[in-house]
Amino acid sequence: MPWDRNQMAERAAKELEDGFYVNLGIGIPTLVANYIGENIDVTLQSENGMLGMGPFPYEDEIDPDLINAGKQTITELRRTSYFSSADSFGMIRGGHIDIAILGAMEVSEKGDLANWMIPGKLVKGMGGAMDLVAGVKRVVVVMDHASKSGAPKLLHECSLPLTGQQVVDMVITNLGVFKVDRGKGMTLIELAPDVSIENVKSSTQADFNIAI
């Protein structure tokens, strides 16, 4: 049975290590925060200028001056620090964030990533996505294996405009987990329960090695 959104998030959470500074994207990546092991201590960064992001507020704690990069109201922790957007992206660009977990539309076998625009549709902008994939030490993509219409999203080459070139280190889909050697190729390293290698192959365009 393929993983559901929560199970994908749970799998992604296993990539976190004690002491990590972590940036979580919008959508499934946000759910990763629910599965952080109790024995590890990680600090969440929000690229609008915060390190040490806490949970969503209770109704009576809401503060309009305290939001995350998805513009949602959040809370602070005892470790929290605030800084400007320039300092925040200095942190990101400078390679100080250990891992970013992001959604994607397409990933190529060499680790190219597309997640910011579909030509012909309204383009809202890349926000901080290009900075994150270019700067963070390790980039993990969490996405459905295929589009709603069944088209593969793991491709030889991305068809959509890129967010970053050779930037992805791992892809977690509902069918399994791929390790990516940037610029080289990808390897299937894990399968969701009751998913076969054939299942994966049939909905993947990208070439991949297998090491399960």
């Binding site: 609008n48 926000g127 290009m130």
Partner: protein, 234 residues
């Protein structure tokens, strides 16, 4: 030198001209100069190039200047939270230049710090890199981005004093500090004007040198995504 002005309209007097470039602080609707945006709307100044991470919503923030067609071009990283923006953009009435958010932040910081260009890995191999100079450092490819300055910067802080020293609150800081440095003139609105000497000088975020004019504003502080959790036992 009197930096404190009576109201938003007064702070903008003599600073506005059609076709000018304005930087506006804020991230989404958080930490935006609400009062100065209203005063810009009322001034009628037009053909503006506005540098701001986002473009507000239909009836709040920079969306108000879109509605009145005062903006000719936006330089942003993420927009489209409002329908009027979408309509003007798709019809070709509005120009739009996308910048990666960190590149935009750094361009403002560079402009304020006298740095006309810097290299970044962000955007290499993407549309953003097209037409930009590429250069290798230590075996990696980077692209050249330029510093940005504005004829006017409008920023929002939490508190300010008569010397123009500012402090921001939580994530409402965002783009405001860099934009404050990158305006030929910078006008700030604050929630509270405090007596000189109230700030611990180690904690001032924007030194007064960057702020030429200052007002106390009234702030609605609208929330874009009200997200809460429930208490387990009420």
């Amino acid at each position: 030198m009197q930096k404190i002005y009576p109201d938003a309209a007064a702070t903008l007097e003599g600073l506005l001209f059609d076709g000018m470039t304005i930087m506006a602080g804020g991230f989404g609707l958080c930490g935006i100069p609400e009062n100065l945006i209203l005063a810009l709307r009322d001034s009628g100044v037009k053909n503006l190039t506005v540098i701001s991470n986002n473009a507000g919503v239909d009836d709040f923030g920079l969306g108000l200047l879109l509605k009145t067609r005062q903006i000719k071009k936006m330089v942003s990283s993420y927009v489209g939270e409002n329908k009027e923006f979408e309509r003007q953009y798709l019809s070709g009435e509005l120009e739009l230049e996308f910048n990666p958010q960190g590149t935009l932040a750094e361009r403002c910081r560079a402009g304020g710090a006298g740095i006309p260009g810097f290299y970044t890995r962000t955007g290499v191999g993407t549309q953003i890199a097209e037409g930009k100079e590429h250069k290798e450092f230590n075996g990696e490819i980077y692209i050249l981005e330029t510093g940005l300055v504005a004829d006017l910067s409008i920023v929002k802080a939490w508190k300010g004093d008569e010397q123009g020293n500012l402090i921001y609150r939580k994530t409402a800081r965002n783009f405001n500090p860099m934009m404050a440095t990158a305006g030929k003139v910078t006008v700030a609105e604050v929630e509270e004007i405090v007596p000189l000497g109230s700030f611990d000088p180690d904690n001032i975020h924007t030194p007064g040198i960057f702020v030429q004019r200052l007002i106390k504003g009234e702030h609605e502080k609208r929330i874009e995504q009200r997200t809460v959790r429930q208490r387990e036992n009420a």
